[in-house]
């Protein structure tokens, strides 16, 4: 229980809480839109960090859980008239099931082979959904306007989706910290450091890895439902964008893999940068700078991997030992 007194947890929690409350306090819809995107990025990064940062498995498949969860949720709302909370739970459940099935097969692969397999899964998921009739095939699912009536109209529905994302993001912080400071988390970090040594010391690695993968998949599955519910429609191309996974990965690397605060700061920093790029009218040649967002995230990733592989928070913790007592 002592771990809950660690300032590193509270610093992170309060940052997220403050971000989440800003639009609520001001009742400002445009701030809410910005925060929705930022909180989504934070909770995606925090959840990916469980498999990537704690366990040491680089996954490019995080968006698969987001996309598949989103699809199932939209399907439940559209075809079964399910309520939003039920759809969100459904999205989390299907993502968890997929992670469980995948975990048993591809988590046997190590290093680059695992990373490559996750890319393959993203492509497979997109193709599958694009040909799956109940999910609307290539055109996807579009919600009827009337769906939002149950939530007090579209404007109110957007607020409800926002509250849910705030809740999930706060939960993500608590959950991630709980894992990090648990015996299970110690096992995951041992796997990250040396999987063979971890096995020799008694860690049942297949089970631990699969569980970590499932834990990292649940929240994206739920977030996907909220995102597409807010959007009003979902299409295969939207739901399984590989670069969404890559950007999430860059956020973690930027802030510090395996730390609690790192993915939060990384997501915040990356989204700020993206916002600046999108609103600038600078052009490179004839192309606007905003088209270079992925190029920039690629360069950013290269710089981090080469020069500060521990990321901002990891670097600070290493460079200044006293900070270890403050940052988690």
């Amino acid at each position: 229980m002592k771990q809950w007194l660690h300032p590193g947890f509270w610093i992170t929690f309060v940052i997220v809480l403050a971000l989440g409350l800003a639009p609520i306090v001001t009742q400002n819809a445009s701030i809410r839109e910005v925060m929705f995107t930022i909180l989504l990025a934070i909770s995606m990064a925090v959840s990916l960090n469980i498999i990537l940062g704690y366990t040491g498995y680089v996954s490019f498949g995080h968006v698969v859980f987001f996309g598949l969860g989103g699809y199932l949720g939209m399907y439940l709302i559209d075809s079964w008239k399910a309520s939003l909370p039920l759809a969100v739970l459904g999205g989390g459940a299907i993502a968890a099931l997929l992670a469980l099935a995948l975990g048993a097969s591809i988590l046997r692969l190590r290093g680059a082979y695992f990373a490559l397999a996750t890319i393959g899964i993203n492509e497979a998921a997109r193709t599958f959904v694009a040909n799956f009739e109940p999910f609307g095939g290539p055109t996807g699912i579009e919600l009827h306007f009337s769906v939002y009536r149950d939530y007090g109209g579209p404007a109110q529905a957007l607020w409800i989706a926002y509250y849910a994302v705030v809740g999930i993001t706060l939960f993500a912080i608590v959950f991630s910290y709980l894992i990090k400071t648990s015996k299970f988390g110690l096992g995951l970090m041992s796997i990250r450091e040396d999987e063979d040594a971890a096995e020799v010391m008694g860690i049942v690695t297949p089970r631990a890895k699969t569980l970590a993968f499932v834990f990292s998949a649940v929240l994206p599955g739920m977030l996907g439902v909220l995102f597409f519910f807010k959007n009003g429609n979902v299409e295969p191309g939207d739901a399984f964008r590989l670069h969404f996974s890559i950007e999430t990965l860059v956020m973690i690397m930027l802030g510090g893999q395996g730390t609690l605060l790192g993915p939060v700061l990384g997501a915040l920093g990356y989204q700020r940068l993206r916002g600046l790029l999108l609103t600038s009218d600078v052009k490179i040649g004839t192309l606007p700078l905003k088209d270079f967002q992925l190029v920039i995230s690629g360069i950013l990733l290269l710089i981090i991997v080469l020069f500060i592989p521990a990321g901002l928070v990891g670097w600070l913790r290493r460079r200044f030992a006293p900070l270890r007592r403050v940052l988690a």
């Binding site: 648990s182 015996k183 110690l186 096992g187 970090m189 041992s190 990250r192 450091e193 040396d194 063979d196 040594a197 971890a198 096995e199 020799v200 010391m201 008694g202 860690i203 049942v204 690695t205 395996g258």
Partner: protein, 251 residues
């Protein structure tokens, strides 16, 4: 005295290389069994086969009365087998204390985190690493990393401890310290199988010794018997320094 570990005609091949050929021996509970042999004889491979890192190509391994041939390392760890690595494998980004806690948490006793912390501190004091508990394991020097290997294995409170060249690279004073540690561990009732190149030490601490050469078990006996065994001396002829050390043990 009951037999804790039984190795029966164990064979292991790497492609065309016959690393172990029908190796058999028994290890009674409470003993220290020394395992010696020239470099490349297959000693580390035998450890890896016993604790499940490699599946043997033939033969049977029985631990605590149970056939454990081909079982995974974590299965054996949970049954009470712990080991150190010849080439140390610290969990670099975790602290020294956390490294040792892993042994207590996931090994034979399966302790919860807070109990593991207490065990880790106790074991770290025992091996003389307590001052380093909060340091990252990656920052230790090689002698300290060897002690860390030992501490991690001990924290599991194993029935059987496999030690792979824990004395290599230590200075004479450090060797004496480590030998005392090993004897203390045995006195706590832990059975030990140890690979060692430092002849004097292994001759002193072992109850019995087995000798591997080119993957075959060529001798078994008390330290005195081994030191005067003609086949053993021949096996070491390629290595005059070791042969000399061996001769010195003959009194």
């Amino acid at each position: 005295m009951s037999v804790l570990l039984q190795v029966h005609e164990v064979t292991k091949r790497f492609g065309g290389l016959q690393a172990l050929t029908q190796v058999s021996f028994d290890l009674p509970e409470g003993q220290i069994l020394g395992l010696i042999g020239p470099n490349g004889a297959g000693k580390t491979t035998l450890f890896n086969t016993i604790n499940g890192v490699y599946k043997p190509d033939g033969g049977r391994i029985t631990f605590r009365g149970q056939d454990v041939t081909g079982k995974k390392p974590y299965y054996l760890a949970k049954m009470g087998m712990a080991r150190t690595h010849q080439i140390v494998r610290p969990l670099n980004d975790l602290t020294v204390r956390e490294n040792v806690m892993v042994g207590a948490c996931f090994g034979h006793e399966n302790r919860p985190l807070h109990e593991a912390r207490a065990i880790a501190d106790e074991v770290l004091a025992f091996v003389g690493l307590d001052a380093r508990a909060d340091q990252l394991a990656g920052s230790l020097n090689i002698a300290q990393k060897k002690r860390l290997e030992m501490a991690r294995a001990l924290a599991a409170r194993p029935h059987l401890l496999l030690l792979d060249e824990v004395l290599a690279g230590l200075n004479p004073a450090e060797i004496d310290g480590m030998v005392q540690t090993i004897l203390k561990i045995r006195d706590q009732g832990v059975t030990i199988l140890m690979i060692e190149h430092v002849m004097k030490a292994i001759m002193n601490v072992s109850d019995r010794i087995i000798v591997l050469d080119y993957g075959q078990l060529i001798a078994e006996g008390t330290p005195q018997e081994i030191a005067s065994n003609q086949r053993v001396i021949e096996a070491y002829l390629g290595d005059p320094r070791m042969a000399e050390q061996l001769m010195e043990e003959q009194v």
